[in-house]
Symmetry: C2
Subunit: 179 residues, 2 copies
């Protein structure tokens, strides 16, 4: 399959058949307190919990969340749902190492202060202004509002662990970073 | 819309209508050398470059990559493709702060050594054994092979910046972490 998109130094010209069916399933973030994080991601971002996996011998649990489209049907059967979950794109995995929620001083590193690495996750929304109003109504802290900073039309907020979440509206980005 | 999936402390029982259309569009990782990262993600994971955005006034570029299904059509027109890109799920954004590739000592933090936070991205594959063979044929470093460690049937490899990439086959995970 040839790329019909963009070429840049390094990019292969075609997709190897051995990679057929590869899907970017999820990104994993460690969270201090799953109850707090589940409340945040379900209430503010409308995410649903597809699977929780417990590993008592290793003292951790994993939570797999998705923001689904209206009418999208998730299998009820747990094995079917497991297969379905791990076949999707754009799942958020939250890892809870048991006990961190009881340690007042415990916190995770957001990747934007030093040492840097991971930057953020991003939600696409149909209406940026309505989303900003919605986030304000839940007192979600803003790192940057749409009209602030060098790049307009995108916002950044933080989740309960301090991870950055970008908010964008696809139709507003067509003029951005044109080379 | 009621959740038909899992309930846990913290989860709301229904999805607020204000979150309709919210999609987990991408995760962002900073990379030292985009040419090296594009070669890796296109060659080994079959990803395509949907958009590159340059910000010369801020000395950085953004690369938006996707592992697409066979036959999936990406708009040719750049504005349409921009809207399409930011409407998808499961996009990988790579950020290149200009000049890091020329600094021999420069490296990003993977989030798994201290201080911890972000953990990994994950590709779902149709055949784990074939994928392991494919990764070995490209000499991709393994953090954990499927038969190693406490959790079988998943592998972890590293990308050129040292970020962890999980590899899993959905059908093999149905017995995992059952509570």
């Amino acid at each position: 399959m040839a790329f019909n998109t963009e070429q840049q130094p390094g990019m292969t010209e075609s997709v190897a058949p051995e990679t057929r069916g590869f899907r970017l399933n999820h990104s994993m973030l460690r969270v201090k307190d799953p109850q707090r994080s589940l409340a945040f991601y379900s209430r503010v971002f409308g995410m649903r919990l597809l699977r929780k996996l417990d590993f008592p011998e290793l003292d951790f649990s994993l939570y797999f969340l998705a923001a689904l489209d209206e009418g999208e049907v998730v299998p009820e059967d747990v094995d079917e749902r497991t297969r379905w979950t791990f076949s999707q794109r754009g799942i958020l995995e939250l890892t809870h190492n048991w006990g961190t929620e009881k340690d007042a001083d415990f916190r995770y590193h957001d990747g934007n202060s030093k040492p840097q690495g991971f930057g953020h996750i991003c939600f696409s929304v149909p209406d940026l202004d309505a989303a900003v109003q919605w986030l304000d109504s839940h007192e979600v802290p803003f790192v940057k509002r749409p009209d602030e900073g060098g790049i307009k039309h995108v916002a950044f907020v933080t989740d309960p662990d301090g991870y950055w979440i970008e908010i964008l509206e696809p139709a507003r980005l067509t003029g951005l970073g044109r080379s």
